[in-house]
Symmetry: C2
Subunit: 359 residues, 2 copies
DNA sequence: AGTTGAACTGCAAACGTTGTCAGTTACACC
DNA sequence: GGTGTAACTGACAACGTTTGCAGTTCAACT
């Protein structure tokens, strides 16, 4: 903990005031843009100069206390070594930073270590202590935890990915933002069909992941309608990792009949799939078309550049921040309006897809 | 800004006290672990229960004000869309989160938009308003800005990458943490020499980047000593991006004589180089060995897995947080001890390097 | 029953800033 | 010189919590 003697060294507003033989009020006024016009110019200059010289900065505690709240929100992330590597967290967070900066809000990022027995809501409470709102971006919650969250007394936004698959977004009782996985997956599957592919495989994420489930559903919906439902040997599930892509495609290629196109549940899986295909002597996109899901930075930097579904994570973050700020501003408390925001995902066509090879 | 009526809804310590006909002091004591033993068990239970029921959480402002400081630090990052994508920021930040969590400090991440004319120190001041310390992780500073920072009155740590190339780390006048680029680069170059490579090219980052300069120096030092200084056509500089790798290797392969190994200034450049080599019909590592610098998550996930220099960014972050916490705890102010911490970088040998081809 | 000490409790004073309110000054105008 | 108005100023009371201090209770001893 910061020592308390640290504070002793601070020159406060009264110190400045007494040196200048002015009242503290004047110093306060002179130093804040909103009220600066209230003090005579020459005096203001004196004050500002001295404040500058003394390296004055207002005591945050006092300011927060006085003003009742501070313009800051906390983002709760899992305490995981690699979270920033993931497209999802990285881009969402940077979007949050942007959106918050645009409103001159501060962003606090807290890691949440969840242990099964611990008081989840209490921990969250603790984390969000010094902020006006909370965006939950960490591991999927249990249904019971979502219920606990309903009466959380500060502005709170959940990401859809954190909502357990069993709960519909509309029933969460808490504002939820998410990407329209269904529509994105449908678009990807449709593209492959249009390119003439009929034998299409699926490389999906873990079956416990809401995102993976929704994407799978979107793919299958379109393929079913076209009469191209993949056989079970053409559906492979694993972690959201390159290794899953490599393993999955190896498994598919071991079968007698092989797909000419693959839908993946993430870019990373797609990279692994391209790599695995190459290792097996297949060229992408000539021999096999592959679409990812995310449109992370690598999608455009790798070769072949990846055709993929763009997750509008920045928009998502913008929306989440917007909801928080709005809720914080809503003076009275006219009850929670259930807010569900699904952001449209769109397909980005690059090099990893091509018309289906003849035969 | 959060509305002020928001606060009205809060049940404070006095509210609890009056409902229970106890003094606020008792409530305060009962609710904080440090002082809980001072209140009789039955009473404490009453208080804790009611606090729980009312979803009480202490007003952060008042607490901070009273205690003089709060256990939190701010990390200043650039307001850039892709920062989290970069290995550097991502891993450093996640390290910071870890280190802070271990000390139960909070981390606030602020984006700093730097405009040339603006008051840099003031902006920083503003950003770190509510925190006890600052880690500067954003764009390289100008020499004048570093000078301004010397008398920053709160614990502050700079990353070496942010220090302009003109200033020695020892002269910054501010604690600096960084990676020992020199030693890392030397190790990489030595490895290639040991593998029998003599024709070695360099794909470097921008000549304004301190990191790139130091890495280049490390490479050249070792190569010079072995009598293998690359000709100027074998040294290519660009952004820290895959495209630089692709462009650079294309340029080198256009020359009559080609290198058998390449040292890169970052993993990303190395990925581009591998890709470019492949596009030109060369296999990595059989025809050309390539080493990166960073050891980001992709280094191990791509094929061939990248031989690279591991940046101990988590250690770096740990050290930075440690310095901040220590400085915050140092009760008196026995002057700034100039702290320079260079963390050792070590080489990780994977698949992208091999003994030099004969001839 | 009186004494002692430990365990517990409440009062009141901070912490540093800001907004309200009631002045006080300065200045132009009659 | 008086009046009216606008511009400026200072005193003071919050904001909600923590903590030093001075009690008060209570059980265990003489």
């Amino acid at each position: 903990m910061p020592s308390r003697s640290h504070r002793k060294s601070r020159a406060g507003i009264v110190e400045i005031a007494s040196q200048l033989r002015v009242s503290p009020s004047m110093v306060s006024r002179a130093l804040r843009p909103e009220t600066a016009h209230l003090v005579r110019a020459d005096r203001r200059k004196l004050i500002v100069d001295l404040a500058e010289k003394l390296h004055f900065s207002p005591n945050p505690g006092a300011r927060i206390l006085r003003q009742g709240a501070n313009a800051s929100l906390a983002v709760v992330v899992p305490l995981d070594e690699n979270i920033f590597f993931s497209e999802f967290y990285g881009r969402f967070l940077s979007g949050t930073l942007h959106a918050a900066a645009a409103r001159s809000w501060d962003v606090q990022i807290c890691a949440l270590r969840r242990t099964p027995g611990s008081d989840f809501r209490g921990a969250l409470q603790q984390l969000g202590l010094a902020t006006s709102g909370l965006i939950y971006l960490a591991e999927p919650l249990a249904a019971a935890e979502v219920r606990q969250l309903r009466d959380y007394r500060r502005p709170l936004v959940l990401t859809k990915s954190a909502l357990p698959p069993g709960i519909a977004v509309g029933d969460a009782g808490v504002p939820v933002v998410g990407v329209d996985n269904l529509e994105g997956a449908r678009a990807a599957a449709s593209l492959l069909l249009q390119l003439g592919h009929r034998r299409i495989g699926l490389l999906m994420g873990p079956p416990t992941s809401r995102d993976s489930i929704e994407r799978r559903q979107g793919y299958l919906e379109v393929l079913d309608r076209a009469g191209c439902r993949p056989s079970s040997g053409w559906i492979y599930e694993g972690a959201f990792s390159a290794q899953t892509g490599r393993d999955g495609i190896a498994a598919m290629l071991a079968k007698p009949d092989r797909p000419t196109a693959i839908c993946c549940a993430s870019d990373e899986i797609a990279f692994g799939a391209i790599d695995g295909a190459r290792a097996a002597g297949l060229r992408c996109p000539e021999d096999i078309s592959i679409v990812g899901f995310d449109d992370g930075p690598w999608a455009n930097a790798c070769r072949p550049a990846l055709t993929t579904v763009r997750q509008p994570l920045a928009d998502l973050a913008e929306r989440a921040v917007g909801l928080i700020v709005e809720a914080a501003n809503r003076a009275g408390r006219p009850g929670y309006v259930q807010q569900v925001s699904e952001m449209p995902a769109s397909i980005v066509i690059r090099e990893s897809t091509q018309v289906a090879p003849a035969g």
